[in-house]
């Protein structure tokens, strides 16, 4: 059986990311394929998340037997669930496209500061290809949807996928810019570290301000 090249490439980003990212980047492929990865994986991921949240919320309302809420959900469930799931898909795709753009921008700047030699298009592609690692998140979401008692496994899957994605982005940056793997990983994870520090600082300032104000 002949497997299409695109599927082999997807598998290759998982089994041998260094080899396949090196090929994909140096073949100077356009951003269409990574764009498709980001859209397809984020649409599926946020769709399943929306489905899980809608199901669990309706179950919680039903479990408490509070009839008006239950009646509202019974009556509104079809369109409310559709709105939640398709809305989550649409907003999720837009959010992850923005995330892809911002992550590649910051990681590219960091790679450049490590004397990286690649172009921005290389960084954009390297980060986009890494979206295949969301298959871990999708697998855990499928388990959670099939068996909602295991809903927490979706969080574990999301965390595993995020770390894995960071590692694949690091490998991709190392290949795209000709920098060491350590520098590639640093340029991949550093933006998140900065985001965490800035986020914590904003939270700290906001809570201090609120305490001072009150």
């Amino acid at each position: 059986m002949k497997i299409p090249g695109a599927l082999v490439r997807v598998g290759g980003f998982i089994t041998s990311p260094r080899v396949y990212l090196s090929i994909a980047i140096h073949e100077r492929r356009g951003p269409l394929e990574p764009l498709a990865y980001v859209i397809l994986f984020s649409a599926s991921k946020w769709g399943l998340r929306g489905l899980l949240v809608a199901g669990l919320a309706a179950s919680a309302i039903g479990s408490f037997g509070v009839t008006p809420l239950e009646a509202v959900t019974d009556w509104a469930a079809p369109w409310l669930t559709s709105l939640l799931v398709y809305g989550a898909m649409a907003i999720g795709v837009l959010f992850e496209l923005f995330l892809w753009f911002m992550w590649s921008l910051f990681t590219h700047a960091l790679a450049k500061s490590f004397n990286g030699g690649g172009e921005y298009a290389h960084s954009l592609n390297a980060v986009g290809y890494a979206w295949v690692t969301d298959s871990a998140s999708l697998a855990s979401l499928l388990v959670a949807v099939a068996s909602p008692r295991l809903a927490l496994i979706a969080l574990l899957g999301a965390f595993v996928a995020w770390v894995w994605k960071g590692v694949v982005v690091g490998i991709g940056m190392s290949e795209a810019h000709g920098i060491s793997l350590g520098k590639g990983l640093a340029s991949s994870f550093f933006p998140w570290l900065i985001l965490a520090v800035v986020g914590s600082a904003i939270f700290f300032l906001a809570t201090s301000w609120e305490a001072w104000w009150t």
């Binding site: 199901g55 408490f64 509070v66 697998a139």
Partner: protein, 252 residues
């Protein structure tokens, strides 16, 4: 087959099925369901036993009960033959909520009031003449058999009540008043007993199923009487539901 081919097919299968489920599920009305049995008990918990009160049959001849619960879980069950009643009050599991309760019995009149907790009331049906159960923001379960001319009154607001009442003599009355809640009740009466049901719905749905008489639904803003022909004496049920649902089944 090479490792990347297997991985590629696996990813395609995961991605394809995820996308298909996410796109099709809302259209066909499927979403994952996880109903928690006794959710109010889970939410408010059944903490440690705070207090218990009981009296024997030798001390009480007739029993009139009023049990009121706000936020929590209430169970009414049959007591052992030798007991007239037993009340067990349990605290809430949530550390920030305290359980206020009062249990008073005087001259066969038992009054139980519990806020934010769980209470189990065991009653001897043979001496039970009257019982009023009021549940707000919580759930109640009533399982009583051998009832003899016992007058019932259920008031439920923003909560749920379910249970089974089995009469040995069904010459009595049962009032159900539900607002913003749900009631599911199974009633068993002797075969020869007659039944008269008046159901009023105010933005509500009342499903009534009386064996060998009628199976009907009173919904919206409607009032209906369902009665055995030539009813003169028997079990009179008055249901008033407002923004609520009632499922009433009478077996005989």
């Amino acid at each position: 087959m090479r490792a990347e081919e297997v991985a590629g097919l696996l990813v395609a299968a995961i991605l394809g099925s995820s996308l298909l489920i996410a796109l099709v599920s809302p259209a066909i009305g499927f979403y994952p369901s996880l109903k928690v049995e006794g959710a109010w008990t889970v939410a408010w918990g059944k903490g440690k036993l705070l207090a218990s009160y009981e009296k024997n049959m030798t001390e009480v001849q007739e029993l009139r009960v009023r049990a009121e619960l706000s936020a929590g879980n209430l169970r009414v069950e049959e007591a052992e033959e030798s007991l007239a009643y037993r009340v067990e009050v349990y605290g809430a599991l949530m550390p920030w909520s305290s359980t206020d309760y009062s249990v008073v019995e005087e001259g066969g009149r038992l009054e139980v009031e519990v806020k934010a907790g769980s209470v189990v009331v065991y009653l001897n049906p043979s001496i039970l003449r009257e019982i009023e159960v009021k549940v707000s923001a919580g759930s109640g379960t009533v399982e009583l058999g051998g009832l003899n001319r016992t007058v019932f009154s259920f008031r439920v607001s923003a909560g749920s009540l379910e249970g089974t009442l089995e009469y040995s003599n069904a010459t009595s009355s049962l009032n159900i008043d539900v607002s913003a809640g749900g009631v599911e009740l199974r009633i068993k009466v002797p075969k020869e007993s007659k039944v008269y049901i008046k159901a009023s719905a105010d933005a509500a749905e009342v499903d009534v199923n009386v064996k060998e008489l009628a199976k009907t639904s009173v919904s919206g803003f409607e009032e209906r009487v369902i009665a055995d022909p030539g009813f003169r004496e028997g079990l009179v049920i008055d249901v008033q539901a407002s923004a609520a649902s009632v499922d009433l089944k009478v077996d005989r």
